[in-house]
């Protein structure tokens, strides 16, 4: 069966800086995969390559079997939420989703209303996005990324800057999406949350995948009694 996300010997350089170095990973459908590592480890670059926003220098990246350089086909199989949700402050939440629906030839009223309801934004739907809180922006971004119900979802730091209530809401929504068979690839600094929601975790350092396993087994990669946070610190210590 085709993996939801697959990279093979992926490489990306920015001048002298190696951002991604021979990165190979595979994420099955219905899995929440956490990509963790320090700043500059190459997590965002990997997600950008997978989402077709950046070309790799070498190696391959596929999403649901579609090569990441085939951008037109990629739009149907992929939902992507960067760290800064791509929203237009001048629009209302409803308008933002309506544009997304128009581009994807979806039902502008039914599916948009459903998404607003599901992501708890129905009451704020007709307010300008510039007045939204960080949590509301993140939920709207998530609603936009999942509006066309893609089989693969890429999320860059989806929990960064959220308060505990908003964090819980986003985690619940991610669980719902994953239970429907969607593969979710999450990059995050929040190791406690990664431990909670991810089925598998890959630790990245200096562009390389150092180790990957289930969160509870990853601690054992260093020591039998080590937790995930300590494991990440030990394994990425430069």
């Amino acid at each position: 069966m085709t993996a939801a996300v697959e990279t093979e010997a992926l490489e990306k350089r920015f001048g002298d800086v190696v951002a991604v170095d021979s990165l190979s990973l595979s994420v099955p459908f219905g899995t929440v995969y956490g990509l963790v590592g320090p700043n500059g480890a190459g997590k965002t670059t990997t997600l950008q390559i997978l989402s077709g926003l950046l070309d790799a220098d070498a190696g391959t990246a596929r999403v649901d079997g579609v090569d990441a350089t085939r951008r037109r086909e990629l739009t149907d199989v992929l939902g992507y939420l960067p760290a800064e949700a791509p929203l237009y402050d001048e629009l209302t939440g409803r308008e933002q989703l309506r544009y997304a629906a128009q581009f994807r030839r979806l039902d502008e009223n039914g599916q948009v209303a459903d998404a607003l309801d599901r992501y708890g934004l129905a009451d704020a739907a007709d307010r300008r996005i510039e007045g939204y809180s960080t949590g509301m922006r993140r939920r709207l971004g998530l609603a936009q990324a999942t509006l066309h119900r893609p089989p693969v979802l890429l999320l860059d730091e989806p929990l960064s800057g959220l308060d505990p209530r908003a964090t819980r809401t986003v985690i619940r929504l991610l669980a719902e999406v994953s239970n429907n068979g969607t593969a979710v690839l999450v990059s995050s600094h929040d190791l406690a949350t990664v431990e909670d929601i991810c089925d598998r975790v890959g630790i990245v350092s200096e562009g390389r995948l150092v180790v990957e396993d289930s969160p509870d087994k990853l601690g054992g990669a260093v020591d039998d009694r080590t937790d995930l946070e300590t494991a990440v610190l030990e394994l990425t210590d430069g």
């Binding site: 926003l53 739009t75 791509p86 929203l87 001048e90």
Partner: protein
Amino acid sequence: MNRETVTDTATVARLSLLRRWRRALDNPRTLVLRVGFLAALLLYTVLGDVTRPPSEVDPERLRETIRGVAAGGWLLLAAFAAAGTPTAARSVQGSPFLLRAAGLRPTLWGTILGNYLQRIAVFGALGAATAVALLGGFDVSGRNPLLFPVLLVFFLTAELAGMAARLTVVAAGIRPGRTGKVLVGGVGVLALSVGIGEFETTVALLSRLPVAVFGDVFAAGLPTVEADRSRVAAAATGGVVGSLALALAVERLAVRSWFTGGGHGRAEAERTRVDGLLGRVGITGPTRAVVWRLWLQSRRRPLIVGLLVFPLFLVGLALVDPEGTDVPRFPLIVGLYGVWMATVSVGLNPLSSEGDTLSHLLSAPATAVVRGYVLTTVLVAAPVVVGSVLLAGALVGPAWLTVPALLLSGVVLLGVVPAAMAIGLVLPRVGPVDRAADGPLAPSKFAVVAHSVVLCLLAGPAVLGLVYADSTPAVAVYASVGVTVLAAPLVGVVSLRAATRRLDSMTLG
């Protein structure tokens, strides 16, 4: 381009226009000001005497001039297009959304279309009225049915050629740094001002360029000019074919350059480098933070344009004027302009906040913050002032004034920079700086006026003394210069203390 792509392109353009319209409505004062300005221009154009056709001009010379002006206009349009071309996917606002949802082609062409439609919406009324008045006056449209289609491809080819040129450079891996861009821009501005100054020669040269054929179409409708049919046909067919070819090239080049991620990480690397440099010369702690923040601000595009373009343009114009310039004591005036512009741009709005820096600023020791501001403003102003004065002295003259102008501008700078800081703290304009918009760090208008008055009062005696040096006793000239030389440091010291006290009170309050 299939039907879906066309629909998506239109949707991207509509989205772009809706956002701009809402932004315009958010700033009703600016909107009213712009509409008022355009309305005034419109009335002047329609009611004024600007539509009278030239009657006593040699037809051949007129055609040559129109050819040259058309080519010059085309090159200018292409240059502006090149400067504004998005060279990376992230330069297009909302690109992760648009590229993912609509795809590259609608994102590229929809954004461009949105820009054009906005220009048409803003200048539409004026343009339409001008066109109707001019065409009515010259009876051009009746004589030349090709005019409007060719006008369209004239704009289109210029825009696409500029974009293609810029994307070709980027696709070749050449990404000039800030210094390179400023140098290229500076040379461009000098060339423009020299071109305007040497109008006849420039027009003769430009009229030999291939794009000058557009001028033949514009000239063909004039009653006194005989049309060159082969060149008119070349303009029409070449324009259409060229537009299509250029559009294809732009799209391919965008695919090659938008997703390479060039320039990524440059800011972080630069920060490390500048941090190290500042540390080596003993600038540390909050002062270093303030210097870094101001260094970032000082390189915003409007500042560079304000600081460099005007003096360069003046120097260029004065250079080609056989009688020099009408501005008395040119090097000194240019130097003082540099002082004024740099302080208004950098030092006069200390409480504007880039990111969340305001709270850090207010919690740092006031002396360190003030020192950081003064130092950076001087660092930004010094090269501008020195460069402008040297250029003005060497190329325009009088050469003997170069050194006195440098010294006087320097002395005035030392007084005006702390004064600007103090004024900016008394008359602040607090607000976040929109980094994405690369907009100006506009200080309060009252602060600008107060600062200008201080500059005039400080520099005034020396300027007046030197302007009237020929008709004034030498003692009076020395005395007037002496007043400025003595008063500037005094104002500087007093302002430094005032600024520190003010900032301290804000920290404590």
